[in-house]
């Protein structure tokens, strides 16, 4: 950290040291005085000294939600040839699943153990290439491991991906483990196969997070897997003299209502109360007093539903829009004009309203899909944005189903939709939609606490094809609408009619695909319909004939059409 002259200060001048985006900045009266080029180390230590006569420091604050992260560890950028014996990252292997971790005996990268080499293959952790750490399982079932050791206690977001980067012969099994507890398991199925993961974990100092690659149980150890891993979080700062830490205690909406200092003493608590739509109630209202902790400045910007409140305007930043809590309305219209869900719900007709005017129950998270291939993701998102401009409500529904793109491989804000690209879709296949895991999981941001988990795979050369993206997005929307209609208690009475068949889902998707082609005044040809004719859809086609043609297409080119989209949740 910077140690030097920080200027002369008059009474009531304010020096602020902030950790912003992992960079330490010094402010004097809100003006950046100095930006440190030295990366902070964790746990954070704040130490100060004064050279001026009669000077004193008060209210040195490290503020903010302690889960938002500032410290960051990255398996790729932190990779080192020399840190294996010490430091946060270590490289090693397990002789078999469940065995003890053995650090590689080699002295520099790539890390390996020649003693268990079969001449051609050996368990290895190698230098990063293309943004991924090279990992290779051993020839006798050894699992190779990249291990992160927590330098301090705290809650950390752990995210990244495993990806097949060489070989491509068979499957490798991949795991993320906290000490001996499995947090994540998956399989990388050859070259280009991407397995993203994302989780949050509270650890104590010295705990280990292992990123593990095995041979998939098939003894095809010539496969290699890349690892991308980012661990971010907020360690507990250990303050020196005059340092304070603030703990935020939230309500059911995530709104910080009580702010404790590091002593956790009620005597020093600051309190925040809000009206239902987010307008803050200060001391002097309804018996609230400063002695109780109201209207005591704490500098915490995360306010109503934990969104950041702009100090100058008083508006809350919700990602896509700003929200005025004093009015209970967004300051701009919803960018999604028409969607089936909205048409059926009058509370959503007002484009400026907040959470269906039910702010006590709902929040307004920004749903995000996770995309795993930068360049193609850009093409994909560009095409999705085009679909969002469409006047076709079905196209909007499909584009909206993906949500907004996530800037991370995976984060807590994702909406369960993962988008990837592949070259191994054969025939005319341009995209596919498959469940991930059980296809349904808990989501604290969702009104019913649930969300659909979906993997969308688009053929690489179709990454920017709006029609393909819309077609698959229509399937995604079908799955989401079913899951969203399930009651918070698991009741599926309302959801059951939305557990539609593959036939129904394809008919809806094909109508959308055909509308795209006809919009461009083109004849769409989906190939054989039965043994002789072809399924052609010219622009002037009558709807009844179109529907018949779609039916013919499905009969000839699809199987198991009567399977519903969630067979295991189908009502008897």
């Amino acid at each position: 950290m910077y140690r030097g002259e920080l200027g002369t200060y008059a009474a009531s001048d304010r020096l602020r040291v902030a950790l912003e985006g992992g960079v330490v900045k010094y402010y004097r009266n809100s003006v950046v005085l100095y930006t440190s080029s030295v990366a902070p180390q964790y746990p954070l230590l704040v130490d100060t000294s004064l050279n001026g006569l009669n000077g004193w420091i008060s209210n040195v604050v490290i503020s903010g939600n302690l889960s938002t992260g500032g410290c960051s560890y990255n398996a790729v950028t932190d990779f080192s040839s020399t840190q294996n014996p010490t430091g946060s990252w270590r490289y090693g292997y397990k002789a078999s699943p469940g065995a003890a971790f053995t650090k590689y005996p080699s002295s520099s990268a790539p890390w390996y153990d020649l003693a268990i080499s079969d001449l051609y293959n050996l368990p290895t952790v190698g230098s990063p290439s293309d943004g991924l750490v090279f990992m290779h399982p051993g020839p006798q079932g050894q699992q190779t491991i990249v291990r992160w050791t927590a330098p301090s206690s705290g809650t950390f977001n752990i995210s990244g991906r495993f990806e097949g980067i060489a070989g491509g012969h068979a499957t490798t099994d991949v795991h993320v483990m906290h000490n001996s507890t499995s947090l994540f398991e998956g399989y990388v199925n050859g070259l280009g196969s991407v397995v993203p993961y994302s989780m949050q974990r509270t650890v104590t100092a010295g705990d280990t997070i292992d990123f593990v690659v095995g041979d998939g149980g098939n003894a095809y150890w010539s496969d290699s897997t890349g690892l991308g891993a980012t661990i971010t979080g907020q360690s507990v700062a250990q303050g020196g003299s005059g340092t304070s830490i603030q703990w935020l205690v939230t309500d059911q909406l995530g709104t910080p209502r009580m702010v404790f200092d590091q002593t956790a003493s009620l005597a020093n608590v600051k309190r925040h109360d809000y009206l239902p739509f987010g307008e803050e109630l200060f001391a002097g209202t309804g018996g609230r007093t400063t002695a109780q902790g109201y209207s005591v400045g704490d500098g915490v910007r995360q306010q109503f539903t934990q969104k950041e409140r702009d100090i100058e305007t008083g508006l809350d930043f919700f990602g896509a829009r700003y929200y005025a809590s004093t009015q209970g309305r967004f300051t701009s219209a919803d960018s999604i004009l028409i969607a089936t869900q909205k048409v059926l719900d009058p509370q959503q007709w007002n484009m400026y309203s907040y959470t269906r005017n039910n702010p006590v129950r709902f929040t307004d998270p920004t749903g995000r899909y996770v995309c795993s291939d930068g360049k193609r993701c850009e093409q994909f998102e560009k095409a999705r944005q085009e679909a969002l401009k469409s006047k076709d409500s079905e196209a909007l529904r499909a584009a909206r189903a993906y949500g907004d793109p996530s800037k991370k491989q995976a984060d807590k804000g994702d909406n369960g939709v993962y988008v990837g690209f592949a070259d191994n879709l054969r025939g005319d296949r341009a995209g596919t939609v498959e469940r991930r895991g059980t296809g349904i999981e808990l989501d604290s941001n969702s009104p019913n606490g649930l969300r659909a988990t979906v993997n969308v795979t688009i053929k690489s050369d179709q990454a920017g094809n709006e029609e393909v993206i819309a077609h698959e997005g229509s399937h995604v929307a079908d799955k989401q609408e079913f899951v969203n209609a399930i009651g918070a208690d698991g009741n599926m009475d309302k959801a059951n009619p939305l557990n539609i068949t593959l036939r129904q889902s394809e008919i809806r998707a094909y109508k959308l695909s055909i509308s795209y082609a006809q919009r461009g005044d083109q004849t769409l040809n989906f190939g054989p319909c039965g043994m002789t004719k072809e399924c052609k859809f010219p622009p002037s086609m009558m709807p009844a004939l179109r529907d018949q043609q779609i039916d013919d297409l499905l009969r000839s080119q699809y199987k198991n059409l009567d399977t519903v989209i969630y067979p295991e949740l189908k009502q008897p």
Binding site: A166, G168, K559
Partner: protein, 167 residues
């Protein structure tokens, strides 16, 4: 000397990256017929197998069927690894023209095994149903088994008249 050792190390590492020395896999070298495979899925689950069947290409699905198995129904989803060995070009050529071909495929088979990692915090009614259900595969989860192909051992035109799979 140290430099010499470093070069050896690098060579060994690169050879492993390149995938040389592919071992004998744990696999059934015998070619199974389709019903033998899916009717005994627990035996072959997650195993490398060789299976003979008719491969058929749809708009968003690819599958296997056999006129002699389950009345010719489409039985198993077919997924290809990014790099597939063997007669891939021949298979693609035949499938582009005829949309189906007799094949012997080598790959890892996945059967209707139970879900793993069901979140215990899911509502009981959902959790209990998932616990009683099995994994599904392919586009829109429309098949209850899948073969992930690593090698096309053989591919031949369908000349003896099996029609497109039923159902």
């Amino acid at each position: 000397m140290k430099r010499h050792l470093a070069i050896i190390t690098l060579a060994l590492s690169l050879s492993s990256i390149g995938g040389y020395g592919e071992p004998a896999a744990k696999q059934n070298s015998r070619v199974l017929n389709l019903c033998e495979l899916v009717d005994n899925w627990k035996t072959y689950n997650r195993q490398k197998v060789r299976v003979r069947a008719v491969y058929e290409v749809g708009a968003e699905q690819t599958w296997l069927y056999d006129p002699a198995c389950r009345n010719g129904e489409a039985v198993t989803d077919v997924s290809f690894q990014q790099q597939v060995k063997g007669a891939v070009k021949r298979l693609d050529h035949i499938a582009a023209k005829d949309r189906r071909a007799w094949v012997i495929l080598e790959g890892v088979f996945y059967g209707p095994e139970p879900f793993d990692n069901i979140d215990p915090k899911l509502p009981a009614s959902i959790r209990e149903r998932l616990e009683k259900s099995d994994k599904r595969y392919g586009h829109m989860d429309s098949f209850d088994s899948m073969i992930e192909v690593t090698r096309v051992v053989e591919a031949a035109k369908v000349t003896d008249g099996p029609r497109a799979s039923k159902r």
